[in-house]
Symmetry: C2
């Protein structure tokens, strides 16, 4: 399964910078680098240098100096991939980076596929699959919370706990299956009480992990926030105030914000994913009505719904709007009623809104979006709408959709094991459910994996990692 060829890629962010790093990994990494490297005294051989050392010199191609570089040497198995690795720090022009890749290819390296370095790290046993997957999340994380989540997972996360329980479960399967060999003698090698204890422990853990996904997902991808309201109540202005930049079109013309604009913004270490939505009103404009359909769709995806109302309108109109949206708020969603334009609003409307009775999952806030007045209060409400404090405990949180799907399956299997124990089903059925659970747990950490699964996981990586 292991591809032995030496691979290379630009590992730093694409584009031009002061320096760039080209990474080579494989059994030929050092000898290939040696062919194009020349030390100042022209005698140093890279192949003879010890691991974890740095070497200044030139990259030479056809007797021409291509660049002056620093070469970092790592030797197997003490490297990221577990193979020999050479990292070439060159000047960061796009030209040099391309040229270096060309020269390396001429000398026997091939371009790495996305995630291939990390895939090799996994295949060489440097990390399990869930850790490898977390590498991509660490790189992609854009908020403190998401970063912490990904780093925890990369450093082991729930792998250890799952692996321990899996080992114990494996032991029981062996016992249960041994019973099958002696089926006629009705012996019980596997202590059913012990097995039940273990299965219960596993069920609890799997349920906890499964349930953590909603939180993990919003931490990783940003808390989805939908901004809804009639046209011209100031939705785009509010979004802009929150984003602190002009990404959405702000306009006095009704229905200008036809497209759902998504924008991720970091507020106090929490990422919010905003949808700015077309004004919800009856319309004959076809394109606009498309936008409105999308609005209702997005509403369902949101964890937090900001309903913006214009306090310049009479209260009954505003109330009608609120009631209409309330009907669409589902369980687990937070509704924040944002009373806008309070500087020019009708006092009657504002007063009535202040007296409005709120459900447990509802809040209200009075702002002037254009003046950024009271935004802090709104942001506080949004930040507390999702409890990200669980992160501060050492709780393990699942943020990977693949893991979530597998955990659901594993949980279903262990529940069947428990039911089976309750109803006293025969060992062969029990064994089948345990095997299934084992299989799923193995898929998370990569004990059990297929080429296809690996390909799917690593294709989403960036090249160079």
């Amino acid at each position: 399964m292991l591809d032995q060829s030496t691979i290379c890629a630009i590992s730093t962010s694409p584009g031009s910078g002061a320096i760039a790093v080209i990474r080579l990994s494989g059994s030929e990494a050092i000898s290939i680098a040696g062919k194009i490297f020349r030390s100042p005294n022209k005698t140093k051989k890279l192949e003879d240098q010890p691991a974890n050392t740095l070497h200044f010199g030139q990259i030479i191609s056809n007797d021409e100096v291509i660049d002056e570089v620093v070469v970092a040497l790592f030797r197997a198995p003490h490297s990221f991939t577990g193979e020999d690795i050479v990292e070439i720090s060159c000047h960061g022009s796009a030209y040099i980076q391309q040229k270096l890749l060309e020269i390396l290819a001429e000398n026997g390296a091939r371009l790495a596929r996305p995630g291939e370095f990390t895939q090799r790290a996994f295949l060489n046993g440097k990390m399990d699959l869930s850790q490898a997957e977390a590498v991509a999340d660490v790189i992609a994380s854009s908020s403190a919370a998401a970063h912490k989540l990904a780093l925890n997972q990369m450093r082991g996360g729930f792998s250890k706990e799952i692996n321990e329980l899996r080992d114990q479960l494996l032991h029981f399967t062996a016992m249960v299956e041994l019973e099958l060999d002696f089926a006629e003698e009705e012996v019980e090698f596997a202590d059913r009480t012990e097995l039940r204890k273990l299965a219960e422990k596993l069920e609890l853990l799997l349920r906890k992990l499964k349930n953590s996904f909603q939180l993990g997902n919003v931490i990783k991808n940003g808390i989805p926030v939908a901004i809804v309201g009639e046209t011209n109540v100031g939705k785009s202005t509010l979004l802009n105030a929150l984003l602190n930049e002009e990404k959405a079109i702000v306009s006095e013309i009704h229905g200008t914000t036809r497209d759902v604009i998504e924008d991720v913004v970091n507020i106090h270490g929490t990422a919010f994913r905003f949808f700015d939505t077309a004004g919800i009103r009856e319309t004959v404009d076809y394109i606009e009505s498309l936008g409105i359909e999308r609005t209702y769709h997005k509403l369902n995806e949101a964890t937090v719904v900001l309903l913006v109302v214009d306090t310049q309108n009479p209260y009954p109109v505003v109330k009608g709007r609120i009631d209409k949206i309330r009907k669409r708020i589902t369980n687990g969603q937070q509704l924040i009623i944002v009373a806008n334009k309070t500087d020019v609003g009708k006092p009657e409307t504002i007063n009535q809104l202040k007296k409005l009775e709120l459900e447990e999952n509802e809040k209200s806030v009075f702002i002037v979006a254009r003046e950024k007045q009271n935004l802090t209060e709104l942001i506080d409400l949004m930040t507390h709408a999702v409890n990200t404090e669980a992160l501060n405990q050492e709780d393990v949180i699942v943020s990977n959709a693949r893991h979530y799907e597998i955990l659901k399956n594993a949980h279903a299997a262990i529940e069947r094991v428990l039911t089976g124990l309750d109803t006293g089903i025969t060992g062969d059925f029990l064994s089948q459910d345990i095997r299934e659970c084992l299989h799923y747990l193995g898929e998370i950490t990569g004990e059990i994996t297929t080429h296809e699964v690996l390909g799917h996981i690593f294709k989403n990586f960036c090249i160079g990692k």
Copy 2:
């Protein structure tokens, strides 16, 4: 003059990548890095590690693991800046990069100014000023020729030659000035024949360098190519075909390409800087007429002018167009008449164009831009319009505008020295001209420099270099 504080910056291209490199330089670099670094066995001290070594470990802030990194250690004076340098290779998320800079700042490093690492390399005598300036050019170079030019300069370029002649000239000045002390005795310590030889040598070198600037400039910034012609003859289509991408608006509507679009593209290792220009025709549209004014302006800046004509027009119309542009072609410019749409053109027009008598600086080519037909021939003509082959010889080429200005001044001064020698002016006048020439030469390599000049040079660098 030397700022001793320890500086830090992200040295890789901004944005997110597999890895990023944060660079620290200064006397405290290793101790600051040591404060936030923890090795796997928790006992390794960065301060005790030898130069040019790599260390895997974690970055810790407030007992929290921020990332797993590899730290590279360089010790003064054997580093890029001549100071202690630590390079931290971290995961390339924007979040981690920012966080690491924050932590380094908390621990006593300050953010580096643009080019400050290279400035320190210069101030610490690791390179002269023209070499330091070339570092920025190496990073910015986007074609093989520009890269070679910049790398030559970074590796010493004309510094050595200039410094040698400057030393000799300095010796003569001393002699000439010694004569002044003995003015009443009419002695000549400085052999006038030798001085003339030296001055002539210097004049030749300075003239050669000065004259190389035009070539150096087009190599560095791309050969400026103006695409002109009436509206709707296919200028944008041609530009797109050349760029191989849709950067300009292609449209059948007359006068759509209102703005001068500039695009640099690399063809066979030579960079071309294209201006796509508004169609030159009489117009009442104010915005469009602005565009046309700019077209004529750009025409003057171009080294190569591509005049696109539509062979569907009658020959007299086409010929009128050619004559009009010919009048505007100045000395040193190359005019390439691009006869377009030859697949649907009038045979008479095509035939007459083929018979058109061309000046030495004129070429013609027959293409179908939309079908990319005969583009290779056009590209060949463009590539040969500027003789970049001088690069292949070991000729030194000036590409830096600052150097060019200084070289002009130095050349004028050395010419005055020669005239002075011819007319037998007195030693004090001679000395003054030699001093002036010395001063300018010193400004190129940085022997003579001011804080202001340094500030100006390095402010155009990217941060992190």
